[in-house]
Symmetry: C2
């Protein structure tokens, strides 16, 4: 049974120990990498030895924030601390040999499985970065500019720069304090939220002009072919958040994005819904799953075949078409 | 000569008077209408009579926030208060007969011309709503949910929901307090920032595919013709924030949007820049103005003529092309 710690207790726990290795989940996002690097930085400022376990799925966009903290080969940690990771099976396969047991888990997911010896969880926070902020404030009483920058990345990437429904008064309050502590918010906002490559712009245009609408325009289907990827010149970082595009259109309750992977017969499907429709249930029908409003599945079939298969069953899941 | 008032002095000034008519600029945006309606609401809560002058250019998106405050026909105001309006010639023509003189101007534009008898200006604020917040706090010591909702509209629409370069620690601090005071931020974010009409999507596609790049791709020019407006089916509300599109492209330092208004010879130009280039100075050259990173002007000329005129002088304002 995991022992629950308050943020003050977690700060005390960290303060009375040394030799930390910070780990986070597969396909790490800004909250995972920002929280991990801010915690490492804050612990170092308190005189501790702290590193982040190298994660080979880190995308170019986030490398600059975390690269100074990667653990050197052979580093022998005394204590493993995880951030932003709800369950043990979310760690990358490449990390498995380093993560036999986690001493402290710092998280904000209500779905946390309490896999760690100690858990400091605040599921009211929009980002894990807010929990790390509370712990670092309890530990040191102030936040350095280097910590503030990384925590700002954590807060903003999990909330779409404060626009998603998970944003709270606390998120904005902490963000305000991080800016006062020296987070370069203008540069970060520009880098993370206001820079589209020409490839991304082209890709968005192709997706938007190819959108199909069904069920009285309450269902939007976006197709991303390998041909579109090639023509637009888009790279993997350009696909960040692309599944939110069709769902932003007025009146759309179910947004489906079908993307060709290795061949036209190998597709990844993302389903995004509002509260009225269960995305998880739709994807479960095709062997996939996820959350009630964001789920997905993979299928060895073409975009047209998948579209037809989805449209055949979708009526069952729509409130007005049952 | 206008007398400058601090926010506390402005609150005292309002508190010792009654019978207000609040006026704002032509083509009013969320900051103008949110500031005006929040001020009217706050003054009413302090026992005052306060109305907002009807502005026939108010778009459907913002009507709900301000319609309860429109001044009835024949209302005789004792004092005219302007919000978010930097100069006298920014008032709508339809307002002219009501605005012979302005007693108090509340604003955040550094380009304010001090046309009012008294001026309460804080050019460090991202939105006029932040200045109104300070005044209402000085007036009453707290903010009602009705004021908070309208001020949240003001803050977010002027900062693109906290992502634009004008956002400050104060913007986020006040926004956090507004949410605590009852601003329904989730609904407002969805309405104002996460819903695109099909017309808007089409319009974005047309703008993106017609973008022109100059000065080693550091300058992007977007043209919006009346024809594009018609073909896309976009309505006025669909133009919110459209000027931020070209500036979101990687490497762009100056983003210019030229939009045809009543005819192809009547255009409105918006200039958005990073910190390295002064948008206000560029627009001043054409008789316009605004903020250092967001300014504009109007011109009786075609898109091509305006493009040529801008390109001719732009080099002077670009650090690498001086």
């Amino acid at each position: 049974m995991s022992k629950l710690l308050t943020v003050v207790e977690a700060a005390d726990w960290l303060n009375s120990r040394d030799g930390f290795l910070i780990v986070t989940h597969q396909r790490p996002d800004g909250d995972a990498l920002g929280s991990a690097s801010a915690l490492a930085q804050g612990l170092r400022e308190s005189g501790k030895t702290a590193y982040v376990l190298y994660n080979d799925e880190t995308t170019p966009r986030y490398v600059r924030f975390v690269e100074d903290y990667w653990a050197p080969t052979g580093y022998k940690a005394q204590h493993i601390v995880s951030v932003d990771t709800a369950s043990y099976n979310m760690f990358p396969k490449s990390s498995a040999e380093h993560i036999s047991s986690v001493s402290l888990c710092i998280d904000h997911h209500a779905s946390n499985t309490y896999y760690a010896e100690h858990t400091c969880l605040d599921e009211t926070r929009a980002s894990c970065g807010e929990v790390v902020y509370d712990i670092l404030m309890a530990l040191a009483g102030s936040i350095s500019a280097a910590c503030a920058e990384r925590l700002y990345v954590a807060l903003t990437t999990d909330t779409g720069c404060f626009v998603f429904g998970n944003t709270t008064a606390n998120t904005l309050r902490v963000a305000s304090l991080l800016i006062e502590a020296g987070a370069p918010h203008r540069e970060l906002n520009k880098l993370l939220f206001r820079t589209r490559t020409r490839g991304r712009v082209k890709l968005e245009g192709m997706i938007n002009s190819g959108l199909e609408f069904h069920f009285d325009d309450t269902v939007a289907i976006a197709a991303i072919t390998r041909d579109m990827m090639e023509q637009s010149g888009a790279v993997e970082d350009d696909f960040d958040d692309i599944t939110s595009l069709p769902g932003s259109i007025e009146g759309v309750l179910v947004a489906i994005t079908i993307r060709e992977l290795s061949s036209p017969h190998d597709c990844k499907v993302s389903v995004r819904t509002g509260a009225a429709v269960n995305a998880n249930a739709i994807c479960a029908r095709f062997g996939g799953g996820g959350h009630p409003m964001a789920a997905g599945f993979s299928k060895n079939a073409t975009i047209v075949e998948i579209t037809c298969a989805i449209l055949e069953v979708l009526g069952e899941f729509l409130p007005s078409f049952e």
